[in-house]
Symmetry: C2
Subunit: 314 residues, 2 copies
Amino acid sequence: MSRTTISHEDGVIYEFTPDLEGVTSVEPGEALTVETIDSLDGAVQSEADVIEAIPEEVNAATGPIAVEGAQPGDVLAVEIEEIRIAEAHGRVITIDGFGLLDDLDHDGIDVDIDAPRTRMTPVSDDGDGELTFEADGTTLEIPIEPVIGTIGVAPATESYTTLVPHDHGGNLDTTDMTGGNTAYFPVFQEDAMLAMGDCKAAMADGEMCGTGSEVSTEIDVTLDVIDEPRASIDRPLVETPDAWKTVASAETLERACELAHTDLLAVLEAEHGFDETDAHMFASLVGGLEISQVVDPLVTVRNAIPKAFLSRPF
Amino acid sequence: MSRTTISHEDGVIYEFTPDLEGVTSVEPGEALTVETIDSLDGAVQSEADVIEAIPEEVNAATGPIAVEGAQPGDVLAVEIEEIRIAEAHGRVITIDGFGLLDDLDHDGIDVDIDAPRTRMTPVSDDGDGELTFEADGTTLEIPIEPVIGTIGVAPATESYTTLVPHDHGGNLDTTDMTGGNTAYFPVFQEDAMLAMGDCKAAMADGEMCGTGSEVSTEIDVTLDVIDEPRASIDRPLVETPDAWKTVASAETLERACELAHTDLLAVLEAEHGFDETDAHMFASLVGGLEISQVVDPLVTVRNAIPKAFLSRPF
């Protein structure tokens, strides 16, 4: 089966808005390859290229891709088959004014981060799937584990730049957005209007310095529309081989935990006939809360339930 | 080698204080079995036993165990060999005034938790290592994965009830405190004064309802004292087969993340000669932040680094 390719050269967005128009249109079930540019639009090509402040436009998301027939209330499934690194190196950067340790209450913590700084992370030549991080006379090889940083659909009413995660997805910076997993988004607008970019060759849960190893990629995906979901969803979910995970973004990690947890309770109630309290108690025994990122304007958390205890959320 | 047994009947504490006195004294390297009672001191034996409010004394921690020769500035290693469930059932409870969804800002979340409630979780008879959670006509089998909820040493200057986690350990409610892992604590007082209890037969990361499956146990541990650490530590760490993890507790998850992350930077700097900024950037590529619990008076986070990138933190 031939794949349709859509490139960042065909179109990118820097803002998810309710009224996005597709640059291309695909049918559910169609196999796509989505080409993405790195989150800094290629501006950083060596360690001499430092980013003084967050650019007005970051995290270019290739698209929007109109998914024919998707209607508000449906669920859009994005099966992420494979993410290939499309250049010879990624880059990690610090920017003054961004990152976990930037806006620090220094009480009891003695930290002095030197920003801006860029470290290039070359992809190893020998095909063993590693990045090289070299600094201060030390060289370390890091496994390549690609992540789609920004992925989402046209939101319901508000607009969100591609720096912000919210109920439509967006800058979720969630390591589970990787090959072999499937991401699910609520459809708020006709044809869903999917866009993705801001990929990393590797990223820690938390994305503490504000970036992973930012890189351009080719992403093989297959889209599907679930048009009569058992339950509608308010926020994204991600399916891994072993677990279902709700994904929620909010101003604080505590609030994101509350949202990710109550989203999970709803699907446990629907599957098992639990009342809310029993769902709450059961969900306190298996799986649990995970950190996606702690650095974006809203932070992101997920709540995992092993598939043994949830056949399907919708 | 014969094991020394210390039971909750020999002594328990409900507060970690700087001036703890040991109920027993052991030499480094001695193999111990520590018997613990459940976090509610056996008060809940059926679903008719509900807990109206958090008791003044919870999380009885067996000990204190004086570790001969441990001096302030040392590191106490607690190798957790095995945790055996010592009764026929655990119990999950909700208490009004406790748990992630209790003190909820309901803006946008419609939740109504029925507290107090108790669910007994019997240990399955057929020896397959499962708990049964039964409610609302549904029965689910959950793998037994024991956790030591409260484990710590005499603190430096302040006192902390066994409901509170802090730099001395205490109510960390961290799933990595399990068999096969080793926990490390800063030694603040002569002979360290280790105590542990509040075990769970299973617990989700987050402990959202405020408990796991609370249970009495027998814990096989071997203690060791690292008396010339490469670096002193301010807070606990835990070693799993694959990773080192810093563990930090604070009033908010964000602050706990800052502490767990800066603790990790210090050990990465010592191992690799990185400056603080490069340690920060490198740590944003591998491992990452994890949630321990979001319900205690202080919340707890850990930050993981794969062992491939850290031979030893001290």
